[in-house]
Structures are given as C-alpha cells and as structure tokens.
C-alpha cells in the first residue's frame, strides 16, 4: 500500500467519523475525533461550533414536526 493510499484511507476514516458524529448528533463521537487531532490543529473550535449549530437546527426541526 502506498503512502498516498494510506493517507487517502485515513482521511476517509476520519471524514466518516465526523459525518457520523454530525448525523447522529453524538458529542462523544465528535470528542473522539477532536481528541486525535494534532496540537495546533485549526479545526477544534470551528468543528465544535458547526456541530452545535447543526444540533440546534435539528432540534428546531424536530420541535416543529
């Protein structure tokens, strides 16, 4: 397996975890993803902010239905 293929696979696994955390609105899954981000990664707050905003939208939609 080439380095590029390993990187592509890792990105896919990572992306799947983020998609799962968002779609299931599961903060523990999101935390698991964020915990493995390297120090200095610029994704932490931005990901949490997006996650919480999505969660609010989902609850508003649920409330209306």
């Amino acid at each position: 397996m080439s380095t590029a293929a390993i990187i592509a696979e890792l990105i896919k696994v990572f992306a799947d975890l983020v998609v799962q955390a968002f779609s299931e609105q599961d903060p523990r899954k999101l935390k698991r993803v964020l915990d493995v981000l390297p120090p200095g990664s610029k994704l932490k707050t931005e990901t949490v902010a997006a996650f919480e905003r999505e969660k609010t939208r989902a609850e508003l939609e649920r409330q209306g239905s």
């Binding site: 964020l34 610029k42 905003r53 609010t56 609850e59 508003l60």
Partner: protein, 188 residues
C-alpha cells in the same frame, strides 16, 4: 613597518568584528522573533482548546432559550430560530473569528520569517503582518474576555510581545520603494 602592521591588523580585526557583530545582531533578532511567533502559536492553540471546551455549554444554553422561545410563539420558523441562536452566540462567533484571524496572520508571519532565515532579508509580507497582528491580538483577548474564557498564559501581554518582535526585525525589512511604500505603512 611595525605600526603599519599593527594598524592593518586593527583594521582587519575591526572589519571582522563588525561583520560578526552584525551577524550576531541578526541572529539575536531572529531568535527573538522565532520565540515570539512560537509563543503566540502556542497561545492560540491553548485558546482554541479552551474555547472548544467551553462552547458546548454556551451553545446548549442558547439552544434551550431558542427552543423555549419557539415553544411560546409557534409562528417562529426554523430560520428565525437559527437567527436567534446566532444572535445569542454572537460573542462566541466574534471570538472564533478573532482566533481565525490571528491564526492566519501567524501563518503569514511564520512564512515571512522562514524567508528571512533562508534568503537573509524579510519579505514585504512581514510588514503587512506587523501592521495588523497587534490589533488582531487585542481583538482576540477582548473576544476571550467577552465570552468569559481565561486568557491562556502564552497570550498574556501578547500584543506587546508581537510589537517587540516586529521592532526587533525592523532593520531587516526591505527599504521602501515607490512600489512598496504604500503597503508597509511608509514608516520603514
């Protein structure tokens, strides 16, 4: 012959000494700038971690408020609810944007510093970095205080450190030309 030799040796020593001193001064300035950039990067990293940890509680409260307001007034649409949520979270979003701005500025500053190390002189982007970074850091500190997140130690006094780093690097900035004098504030 002797006095001539002595003065020749003195002159040679002076030339070597001056050359060595100027390179020492540059190395000292580079060390100061690198330590300042590293400190700021660690500070932003710590702030990112603290804000990310505190965000869910604030967002949860904002969400509860929006949901309860909508429960009382059923005419409120999902989009109105989201607007209300964004309004309540405005201070947090401001802090996040300030953090993003500082992070991007530091990226530019670090890239300019790398050019200094490899090419021996600072690019003009360093002047642009210095022009903005202090204000951005003040905005970030204000943003953190507005959301009640403690300023992490590496960020305490950060605008002053950044200013000192910019001052230390000033002698290695390119001289102003008609082309660049408008971009570096014209004070170099």
């Amino acid at each position: 012959m002797r006095p001539l030799n002595r003065s020749g040796a003195t002159l040679a020593f002076a030339v070597v000494f001056l050359a060595a001193c100027s390179s020492c001064a540059e190395r000292d300035a580079q060390r100061a700038v690198q330590s300042s950039l590293t400190g700021l990067a660690h500070g932003v990293e710590a702030a990112d971690r603290l804000v990310a940890e505190a965000w869910p509680a604030a967002a949860g409260q904002a969400r509860e408020q929006v949901l309860s307001e909508r429960e009382q007034d059923e005419s409120v649409s999902v989009e109105d609810g989201m607007r209300r949520y964004d309004e309540i979270m405005d201070n947090w979003t401001t802090a996040l944007n300030a953090m993003r701005a500082v992070r991007e500025a530091l990226f530019v500053g670090q890239a300019a510093f790398d050019v200094w190390l490899s090419a021996g002189s600072l690019p003009e982007s360093w002047a642009a970095f210095c022009l903005n970074v202090e204000v951005m850091l003040v905005d970030l500190l204000d943003g953190l205080s507005a959301v009640g997140v403690d300023v992490p130690p590496p960020l305490r006094g950060a605008p002053g450190f950044a200013g000192a780093a910019c001052e230390a690097a000033k002698p290695w900035l390119p001289l102003p030309t008609p082309e660049n004098s408008g971009t570096n504030g014209g004070d170099q």
